[in-house]
Symmetry: C2
Subunit: 490 residues, 2 copies
């Protein structure tokens, strides 16, 4: 372990000289950047002989500095991908060095204790009751998949069908409800779980991007007898807008129809750290399962996701006795691990960094970080609203703002689509700024989807001045792209 520190220190020192010009992304076209990065690793073959740990690590550290992202840069504002906390990175090294696994007691006793501590702390923060439980997973997509798996198998059991044994075929035409804006991992999970993507029934949203409870209620009432409602998936913090579906109303509908309520709070969960914003998640405690991504609004390095459940019994769908891992007599003697809560066997103790971060910063410290990022988003929103060349599309609910470059004579929306996607790539290629994009449909029924740009603000060290500079860069890039489009049209 002391060796690791020395090796690291050496690599970092030599990588420092490789630091490129100021900017969060490497300059250049993706193709060229990727080729240069690949080149620096040598031919893609396991070399016959090694070059030693120090040289290998220096090579990696240098290429990562040269061709990687700098998420701590004040103009990195693209994705739900935070610059991680120092304490979390250091704790993650302890996890790697120890190489404990969570499947059985004797693959990592202390790691199991840490995960239990973290899960309990999170279920309490979520307001779930004493029967709650949870497990860490490799990401929000996997947490959504796992929540949906539990919902699927529970829906089967309620109908006398053992889905785990007999497969999904016996479930009559399964349906999963979610808002039109649910994360695409819900669709992917339906495909993976054998329900098929056609099981997804999207429910309309209101003008604040929130699922309409009355539309959900109508859909459930209108469901044929030949359908099996498997789950309602609410989103608490939509990827683009940070909007939170009306959880109390949805929970009431779910209870009425005895359907599993899964809340995808991958993004929104972190708002619970903030006194100011936590109220937006009211009703979270009514969920059957909750997806939490602390590698988003929680400043952990990936992977740090959790699936929380209101009732530990929900995990019975995953229980398993394996002669080489958890035979009955060992389980009775307390040698059991967490195998029965996960689809994984070997499982890295990602909880170590979470525990370290929660202890180091406390709810107050993390809440302040959430508030800072929210304020940055509010600042961006105001500035965008005041800027005649920009159109504010969606205000700062959590830490994102969606807007559109649309100044001057470019009223043609197709032109503007092109300009907005061009301007983002232009910023990326010049290396000066990293912003996001998405498409947004207008509020009228026949409105088309339009390309917008987006800031996702998770850098708590950035300032209002940095945001202003970021917006200035967007304006410059927008004008340049508009000119090019005009010239093209002329």
């Amino acid at each position: 372990m002391a060796e690791v520190v020395t090796t690291l220190a050496g690599a970092i020192a030599s990588a420092r000289s490789a630091r490129r010009e100021d900017g969060p992304v490497p300059r250049g076209m993706p193709e060229d950047v990727l080729a240069a990065a690949a080149e620096s690793l040598g031919p893609p073959d396991v070399p016959a002989d090694g070059i030693g740990a120090d040289a290998a690590l220096r090579r990696l550290a240098t290429m990562l500095a040269e061709y990687g992202l700098d998420l701590a840069h004040p103009r990195a504002a693209a994705h739900l991908q935070p610059p991680p906390l120092t304490v979390a990175v250091a704790a993650d090294t302890l996890a790697s060095a120890g190489n404990a696994s969570l499947d059985t007691y004797d693959s990592g006793p202390s790691a199991i204790a840490v995960e239990r501590w973290v899960v309990r702390s999170l279920t309490r923060l979520a307001g779930l009751g004493e029967r709650a439980d949870g497990v860490l997973t490799p990401g929000g997509s996997m947490s959504n998949l796992l929540g949906l798996l539990l919902a699927r198998d529970t829906a089967g059991l309620a109908r006398g069908i053992d889905v785990r044994r007999s497969g999904v075929g016996a479930l009559r035409r399964p349906v999963v409800f979610c808002s039109e804006l649910a994360h695409f991992s819900v669709h992917r999970a339906c495909a993976a779980l054998g329900l098929g993507e056609q099981a997804v029934q999207p429910v309309a949203v209101d003008e604040h991007h929130r699922m309409r409870p009355e539309a959900l209620a109508a859909a459930l009432r209108g469901l044929g007898d030949d359908r099996t409602p498997v789950a309602i998936i609410a989103t608490a913090g939509s990827t683009d807008f940070g909007s939170v579906d009306p959880l109390p109303e949805l929970a009431e509908i779910a209870a009425e129809h005895a359907v599993w309520l899964h809340v995808d709070a991958a993004y929104g969960f972190g708002a619970l750290f903030s006194e100011r914003l936590s109220e937006r998640l009211a009703g979270l405690e009514l969920a059957d399962s909750v997806t939490v991504d602390l590698h988003k609004l929680g400043w952990q390095p990936a992977a740090t996701s959790a699936l929380l459940v209101a009732d530990a019994n929900a995990f019975s769908a995953l229980e398993r006795t394996v002669s080489y891992l958890n035979p009955a007599d060992d389980s009775e003697a307390g040698y059991d691990g967490l195998l029965g809560r996960s689809l994984q066997t070997t499982r890295r103790p990602d909880a170590i960094k979470v525990a370290a971060s929660l202890l180091a910063h406390g709810r107050a410290g993390l809440g302040r970080m959430v508030d800072v990022c929210h304020e940055l988003a509010v600042h961006a929103q105001r500035r965008i609203a005041a800027e005649p060349e920009l159109e504010l599309i969606s205000p700062a609910e959590l830490t994102t703002v969606v807007f559109r470059y649309g100044g001057g004579a470019h009223a043609d929306p197709d032109h503007l689509d092109r300009i907005n996607s061009d301007l983002r790539r232009r910023l990326l290629e010049s290396g000066v700024a990293l912003i996001g994009r998405t498409t947004v449909r207008g509020t009228r029924p026949d409105d088309a989807e339009r390309v917008c740009v987006k800031f996702t603000l998770l850098n708590q060290t950035a300032t209002a001045g940095d945001i202003d500079e970021l917006i200035d860069r967007v304006l410059l890039a927008g004008r340049a792209c508009a000119r090019r489009t005009e010239e093209g049209a002329a």
Copy 2:
């Protein structure tokens, strides 16, 4: 990053004083160890205020040292969980600190280059052709699941069924063939994917624990027209025995019946590093997909698994266009990432540590480590065979040995079962040794399953002397348990 190193160095120094007595596991009953570990973290609640990064990290580092495993200890020999390489741990810290993600170009350009490099190096090592591809996953269980998902959706397409869209229901009574000794994650994957565990049709093994090709051929011939063969899963390195199914024969049968061949080489893949052992994996190049766990015979910290595929097109089942991640115009401009190869969205660049390790040690260096561990297993096997109180159950194919304490007058197999499970727990509770266990069925048809103990040897710094001492400890513990059982019987 420099901060991380300083913080770490402090934590390690203070943890050193907490080091417990010599032994790979904390002494005590699991319940007590877990309670003490939990206690040291404080009440399971997000604290209102933080204690700062240094104090938090010291607390974690100390409790991990006190109540965790020491996999570098010469008497740690339980699971496929290696003491990780220094260079891999250090490189993993670079991954955490950078927090790149592999889903899109702009979430981590250099990380994408590294994963492509690693995947290409591994497919070449496996002898897969130039059309091969692959992706890193969070573990062998997930790699098996992903391989089976591709097989499932490919089997559907061959029959004109879009499983991804319509679900598994349209596949007529799916069947997955694997040996009786296949890892249980295959069964779990069938359950998760909606095929149901009843889809698994176990095929008999020979006396060397290898799938019988003629039994597989007969099963396929005997399959009713109303069944859909989805995949044949061969194991290259069974968990307990290290046995490798006869890949060339199985590949021939798979080709004849046009069924997907997945090879679970989670454990065995590492043998390819060794000149001496690589031949055992002959035929691997004939697979449609391969599971590789470098967190087993590859000395990486978890998670470091990969799914390799013979044909990159196999991933089309996972392709996806998402407006905020990979819209068509961005993809055309080269901004695409690896979203379409994984069920994950955010994905940690676990390839960084692999690249660093392959470069640092080369095939020769890793091959030597494999050979050393194999030799340790052969040494253990010889000593066990020569020891009248021990019965050798299975020789050292790769780096495991399975045996049974069975000396003296204790011919009653049920008594011996108890003694063998007791002796393992006794070693664990005293903290002096960490060994594995499993159950093995005899070779006669009506033989019962018997409890055995197992060494899994992945510590390349251990010596033959260490193995001898480990066996001495087993003998002592066995005798003590035998005495207790006798006294109980008397």
